[in-house]
Symmetry: C2
Subunit: 210 residues, 2 copies
């Protein structure tokens, strides 16, 4: 399969981790957002929203939206399960994941930040405060639920797949992470695994300076 990716897209980063964890053979096709490649007719035919990532299956069919892609991979590739077999335990992981997927990530999305500074005339400082605020609110809800060494025990789950890109962004925007020691310990533990470190933005073929 082929993942349409941008090195810094955290939704693409989730997919890169999951594909590595499940050892699913795949290619990564970079889409250069700065050059507007996501708005090309060719890309819009794959993803009408013009969003990265998109996942093209070997038969040419395409799945959009990272959560839908991850649920699809989980249902089709049983190796290294990313959700517990028990439905209630799976619901606990999904609830945790949704705090990142719904309550943090979309509110800090680039298009929202552009609306803030553009249409609403917010300053750079106000934008940064906004960014950090929603991460901090979300992480406050997540931190008490964590076990270790991974989010839900001894093996990575979807929770780690979502957490690592979100922490990466938090650090990039200089969020104070000192109040989240469990999150930071898990982040560092994950990044000792090749599945996670190979998926980092700076490890991608389209990262600057590579």
């Amino acid at each position: 399969m082929k993942l349409y990716s941008y090195f810094r897209s955290s939704a693409a980063y989730r997919l890169r981790i999951a594909l590595n964890l499940k050892a699913i053979e795949h290619q990564i096709q970079p889409v250069n957002l700065l050059k507007g490649e996501h708005k090309s007719d060719e890309y819009l035919a794959l993803n009408p929203q013009g969003l990265v990532p998109a996942l093209e299956l070997d038969d040419g069919r395409v799945i959009n939206q990272s959560t839908a892609m991850l649920e699809f991979l989980e249902s089709q590739y049983s190796q290294h399960p990313l959700l517990p077999a028990d439905s209630f335990e799976a619901a606990q992981v999904r609830a945790w994941v949704n705090i990142i997927a719904c309550d943090i990530h979309p509110i800090d999305n680039l298009r929202v930040l552009k609306y803030l500074t553009g249409t609403l005339g917010a300053s750079e400082d106000q934008k940064t405060a906004w960014y950090q605020h929603w991460i901090t609110e979300g992480f406050k809800a997540l931190e008490p639920q964590l076990q270790g060494p991974f989010c839900f025990g001894d093996a990575p789950t979807l929770a780690d797949v979502y957490l690592v890109p979100q922490v990466y962004n938090a650090l990039r925007f200089e969020t104070d992470m000192s109040q989240f020691p469990k999150i930071m310990a898990i982040y560092q533990h994950c990044n000792q695994q090749a599945a996670f470190s190979d998926a980092k933005p700076e490890s991608q073929a389209d990262a600057p300076g590579r």
Copy 2:
């Protein structure tokens, strides 16, 4: 099971529809957000984020986050499936649902609107324009994918469960829906079914004037 609900919460509205569609026996326990009942110690023990809804199972275990609840119900109650049996088709429904669950709803959430008008000092007009902007952007992505008479054909799926509360909110905030004829036709078709109309905010025991 017991659904902790607030009549106007659109995430609770999703659950009310799904429980009705699947004909799962349940009680609805109102949580009065205006009286701050969601911040009581009793409620925070159920949902540490203080968010509505929460789903309490018969054995007392609790699931939070509407998407996690709906996936749980789908996995445990096979009657009236809300996702297609085929994994790729299910991914198409989940991708569609995620445009509402991630790209519209969280950005228009009350706590975000409060940050806009409070911390950022946005006017009421700016708040309304923000609200309508994210609905309109999301609906533009959804409208072309719709079939009818329900979102994905002849029976309601998770897509309809998410769509109806989002349209309800759009109308409440006087969003121009004339550019979305397929969405409006599906909204009206859904509301002819008791599972949907019984779940409406104004049909709830905690709605004002009842």
